[in-house]
Symmetry: C2
Subunit: 292 residues, 2 copies
C-alpha cells in the first residue's frame, strides 16, 4: 500500500473503520479525518489518539498534500463535497468513495472535481445496521467484498492503487461496471432493506402486542430495518430507477406465488419454495463472511 | 407435569425435541414415537436409546394407554391421522399438536376424533430452517414462546395440563383465539417466509454470479427461505386466506413506499424508514430468544 497521506471525509462506521484498520496495520503516514460538524470532530478525537489521527472541520487542513482521499459522506453529499475539495487537491491525488450507489456518484463527483485528481468508484460491502463512528472497528473489512467499478473514465494506475488499498484493509475485490453495480445492489441490498421496513411497519403499526409473537425468523428477516433512515432514504433516492425496478420485480414474484396459493396449486408452491431453498442453500455454502 | 404415557406422532425437529426434552428432564414414564414410514422409525431408533423410547410404525402400539398424544405431522395430515387414532384412544386422553396453523387443525382433528379425548391446539414457536429429527435438541423449547389457542370447545382441565407440559419443556405460554393466532402467524411467520423465497428467486434465478455480491443483510433477510418446501406449502395452503391477506397488506405498504421513492419524497421515505427502525429496535430490545 503506497499511500502516505490519507484524508477520510465524513467518517462514520466505514470511514472510522478505515482509519482504525490502517492504524492496526501499522500505517505511519498522515491520517486526517474531516467532519463537517464540530461535534463530529470532537467525537473522532474522543475515539482516536490525537498522536495518530488529525481530526478537523477545516477541509483545506484535511486535504493539503493528500495522495488518497476517501469520500465517506452520504452519497447525495459527495458531488458538492468534491467541488469544495477541488482547490485543495494535487493534480494526481487519487480519490475514491464508499457509497452504496455508483452511477450518480461517479457523475457528480467527477463534475465536482472538474478534471482534478483521479476518481475511482468503490463500494466496500461491509457494515451493520448500527451506524456511526462509535461502531467502527479495525477488522470491519476483513474478508468482506469490495466492489470496484471501473469505467472508461477511470485511470488504470489509480484503479490499481485503490484496489491495493482495499486488499490491504482485508477485502476481496470484485469488478462491476457502475450500471451493473447499481442494478445488483438494488436487488441484493436496497430491495431487502425496503422490504424489511415494509414488513415491520405492516406487522407492528397499531399492534405493539405482536412483539410477543415475533420469533427468530421475523427478527432475522427484518434485522436490516434498524439501519439509519436518512442514509437509506438517500440511497433509495440516488438509485431510484433500479430500486423501483427491483420492487416491481419482487411484486411480480409475489403475485405468481400468491396466485398459486389462492388457486390451491400446492405442488407449484412447493416447487417455488424448493427452488428458493436450493438457491439459498447454495448461498449459505458459498458465503460465510461479513458484509451488508 | 403429570402425564405418564406420552405418544408423539410424526416426530421431526419438534417431535424429536419434545422426546429429547422430556428425557433430559428425567421423564421416566412411557415415551412412544410413531412414524408412518419404516425408515423414519429406524432413524428414531438410531438417535434415541431403545431403553427410553419406543419407536414404532404401529399406531395402536404407540397409542394404547396414552394419556397425552402430540400430533407433529404436517398440518394437512392431522385430520385423517386423528381419525385413525380414534379407536385406540381412551375417553380422557389429552391431545395437542405443534401445527403452525390452528383453525383448520382444530376443525379437522376434532372431526377426526369424533368426540373421543380432549384436543387443545398448541403452536410451539421454536424451530429453525433445518428440519427433521436429525436436528432435534433437548433445549429447542427453552425460553421460546408457545401459543395455546383456547376456544369454546376446549376442555379447561386439558388446556391447563397441556400448558403445564409446554412450561415443563421450558416454554413461555401465550394465549390467542385460533382465528387471532392464524392472522398473527400469517404476518409474523408465513409472510416473511413467502417474501424470503420470492427475494431469493428474484435475485438468483438465472444469475448464479450474484452470489458473489450477497452480504449479511441479504443472507439474514432470506435465511428462512431454506425451510422445508413441502411443509411450508402445506402451511400456506392451510392458512390460505390469512396468508393472502398478509401478502396483499405487504403489497400496500410497498406501493406506498414505492410511490414516495418515485416522486422523490425523500422526507417521507426517511420518515417511513424511521418508524420501521423504531419498531424494529423495540423488538430487538424485547426479544432475545429463539423461535421461528
Amino acid at each position: 500500500m503506497h499511500f502516505r497521506h490519507i484524508a477520510i471525509l465524513g467518517p462514520g462506521l466505514l470511514g472510522g473503520s478505515i482509519a482504525l484498520g490502517a492504524l492496526a496495520r501499522g500505517f505511519d503516514g498522515s491520517l486526517r479525518l474531516w467532519a463537517r460538524r464540530e461535534e463530529a470532530v470532537e467525537e473522532i478525537r474522543s475515539r482516536m489518539a490525537p498522536a495518530s489521527v488529525l481530526a478537523t472541520s477545516d477541509l483545506e487542513q484535511a486535504l493539503v498534500g493528500a495522495d488518497l482521499v476517501v469520500f465517506c459522506t452520504p452519497v447525495e453529499a459527495m458531488g458538492s463535497l468534491a467541488q469544495r475539495c477541488r482547490p485543495f487537491l494535487q493534480p494526481h491525488t487519487v480519490l475514491t468513495d464508499v457509497g452504496s450507489v455508483k452511477c450518480p456518484v461517479l457523475t457528480e463527483v467527477r463534475a465536482g472535481l472538474g478534471g482534478t485528481g483521479f476518481f475511482v468508484g468503490s463500494h466496500p460491502m461491509a457494515g451493520s445496521e448500527q451506524g456511526g463512528i462509535a461502531f467502527a472497528s479495525p477488522d470491519l473489512f476483513e474478508n468482506a467484498v469490495c466492489i470496484v467499478t471501473p469505467d472508461p473514465a477511470a485511470d488504470p494506475a489509480a484503479l490499481a492503487a485503490v484496489e491495493q488499498f482495499w486488499i490491504w484493509l482485508g477485502m476481496e475485490i470484485r469488478h462491476q461496471s457502475p450500471g451493473e453495480h447499481d442494478r445488483t445492489v438494488a436487488l441484493v441490498s436496497h430491495l431487502p432493506h425496503a422490504i424489511a421496513a415494509a414488513l415491520v411497519n405492516l406487522v407492528c403499526a397499531g399492534h405493539p402486542d405482536r412483539i410477543n409473537f415475533c420469533g427468530n425468523g421475523f427478527l432475522d428477516t427484518t434485522r436490516i430495518a434498524s439501519g439509519l433512515p436518512g442514509l437509506w432514504a438517500g440511497i433509495f433516492h440516488a438509485n431510484k430507477e433500479e430500486v423501483i425496478a427491483s420492487l416491481d420485480g419482487l411484486e411480480g414474484e409475489v403475485r405468481r406465488l400468491r396466485h398459486w396459493i389462492e388457486s390451491g396449486a400446492c405442488d407449484q408452491v412447493a416447487q417455488y419454495l424448493s427452488e428458493a431453498k436450493q438457491r439459498r442453500d447454495t448461498l449459505k455454502a458459498s458465503r460465510t463472511h461479513g458484509s451488508n
